[in-house]
Symmetry: C2
C-alpha cells in the first residue's frame, strides 16, 4: 500500500469530506448496492469497473440507498450516476453479508491518504451488507462517464480482473455463475442480439458467458429445443452452399 502515488486532487478531497458529512443524513446505514454490468462485444465478455479515486484499485459501480428510496430504484440511480448508463435491465441476484467482506483496512487507509484525518465516524469503513444486481449489455452501445470519486470507468475481460476493493471479485464470480444459469431464460429480455442473427453468432455469446467452447451440432439442437427461435431465410453472401440460416426471437417470446 505504501507505494501508491497519490495525486493531490483537491476536488476529490473536498468531495469525499462533504460526502462523509452528509451521507448519514441522506442514506440508509448498513445497506449498499453493487452492480455487475457485463458487456458483450467481439466475442468477449467484460465487466465494467471504476477506478477508486486515484488509486490502482477498482470497484463495481455501487452506492447507497436513500432513506425514502425503493431498493430497485436506488440500483438504477446509482448505476446512472456512476457510469451514465440509463434504462438498463437490472436483475437482483445476491446479497453479500460476511463481516469480513469490507476489508476495512484497505478502504480506511486509502480514504485517509486521500483526505488526511478522518472524521470520527467514517462512513466508508462501517459494515455494509450489499445487495447486488447484474445486467448484460452490448458494450458498444454505451458511453460510460467518470465523476469525482471514480476517475476511470473501464471494461475488463472477466478472466483478467484488476485489483479490487472489498469482496467485489467474489461478487463478480457469483454474478457470472448466475448469468450462466439464467442465460436461456433471460436471452430475449437482455435484448442483446441484433434483430436477426446466425446460430454461430448466438453460439459466440454462449461461449463468452460460459468461458468455454460448445460443439456446434449440440448447441444448435439445444437452442432449437427451447422453442424461442424463428428460422428465416439464409444469409446469402456469394458462397451460397455455405450460407447460414438467419434466426430471430419468436414474436410470442418478446
Amino acid at each position: 500500500m505504501s507505494t501508491i502515488d497519490f495525486v493531490n486532487d483537491s476536488a476529490l478531497k473536498k468531495g469525499i469530506k462533504e460526502f462523509l458529512e452528509t451521507a448519514p443524513h441522506i442514506y440508509m446505514a448498513g445497506v449498499s448496492v453493487d452492480t455487475v454490468i457485463f458487456g458483450f462485444h467481439n466475442d468477449k465478455l467484460k465487466a465494467l469497473m471504476l477506478r477508486f479515486g486515484n488509486t490502482p484499485y477498482f470497484v463495481l459501480p455501487g452506492g447507497y440507498i436513500m432513506k425514502e428510496e425503493n431498493l430497485d430504484d436506488a440500483a438504477l440511480r446509482i448505476l446512472q450516476e456512476r457510469t451514465g448508463l440509463k434504462n438498463i435491465y437490472l436483475e437482483q441476484f445476491y446479497t453479500s453479508g460476511n463481516t469480513s467482506r469490507s476489508k476495512e483496512e484497505v478502504a480506511m487507509e486509502l480514504t485517509q491518504k486521500m483526505i488526511g484525518t478522518l472524521p470520527n465516524s467514517n462512513w466508508f469503513a462501517q459494515r455494509f451488507v450489499s445487495v447486488c444486481y447484474y445486467a448484460l449489455i452490448d458494450d458498444t452501445k454505451v458511453n460510460p462517464v467518470t465523476e469525482v470519486f471514480f476517475t476511470e470507468v473501464k471494461w475488463f475481460d472477466v478472466s483478467k480482473l484488476p485489483k479490487v476493493l472489498y469482496d467485489h471479485d467474489v461478487i463478480i464470480n457469483k454474478a457470472l455463475k448466475r448469468l450462466q444459469a439464467d442465460l436461456d431464460e433471460k436471452l430475449v429480455g437482455f435484448n442483446l442480439m441484433s434483430e436477426t442473427f446466425t446460430m454461430g453468432q448466438l453460439q459466440k455469446l454462449y461461449e463468452a458467458v460460459y468461458q468455454k467452447k460448445f460443439v456446434r451440432t449440440n448447441f444448435q439442437r439445444k437452442m432449437l429445443s427451447m422453442n424461442v427461435l424463428e428460422r428465416l431465410e439464409k444469409q446469402y453472401n456469394g458462397k451460397s452452399h455455405k450460407a447460414p440460416y438467419l434466426y430471430r426471437f419468436a414474436e410470442s417470446k418478446k
Copy 2:
C-alpha cells in the same frame, strides 16, 4: 384492527419492552432476515409461519443480524431460535427493499396495543431491507417450537395463507417461483426423498411445488433426461405386472 382481542400477557409485554431497549446495541439497523420454510408431506406443499404475539397475524420466521455476525449465520440462528429447526439447508433468494413493504401502521398499532406507550425509537417500525432465504424439508421430521413473541408455529398450505404482516405474502410467492425454477438442480441437495422412491412419488413432489398436474409419460421422460436417477429393481407388491420401478439418486450426483 380495533376488533383484535388482546390477551393481557405480561411475559410478552416484558419481552417486547426489553427487546426494544437492547436491540439497537446488538443488531444492525436497517437489515433483517426472513426465511420461507417449505414443508412437503402427503403430497401437499406448506409454508411455516408464526403467530405474531396474540394477534391474528402471522409472519415468516425472521429476525435481525448481530453487528458482528455473518449474514448466512444470522439466517440459521434466527430459524433455530424461532422454530427449533437446526441444520436446515437455507438458500438465499431475494432481498426485499420497497419503502412500502413494512406496512408500518399495522406493526405500530399492534406493538402499541401489546405494550402501551412506545419508546421514542420503535425498532419494529423503522425501515428494514429484508434478506430472504428458503428451504424445502420433510415437515414430519421436525418439531417446531414456540417462544414468547410468537405464540403459535403453524404449517399453512401455500394456496391458503393466513393474514400476514409486512410483505410476507409477496416474499412467499417469490420463494415459490424460485423453488420451481431451482427444483431440478436442488433436488438432490434438498435431501427430501427417501433412499429409494418411485417415479410416481417424485411426480407428486413436482406437482405440489408447481401446483399443477403433469402428464406421467412426459414427466418420466424429463426426469430420465436429467441423468441424475439410477433405476433399481421393481417394487413388487403382489401385483407384479403393475409394479413400478424404484429409483435412487445416482452416486455421482449426491
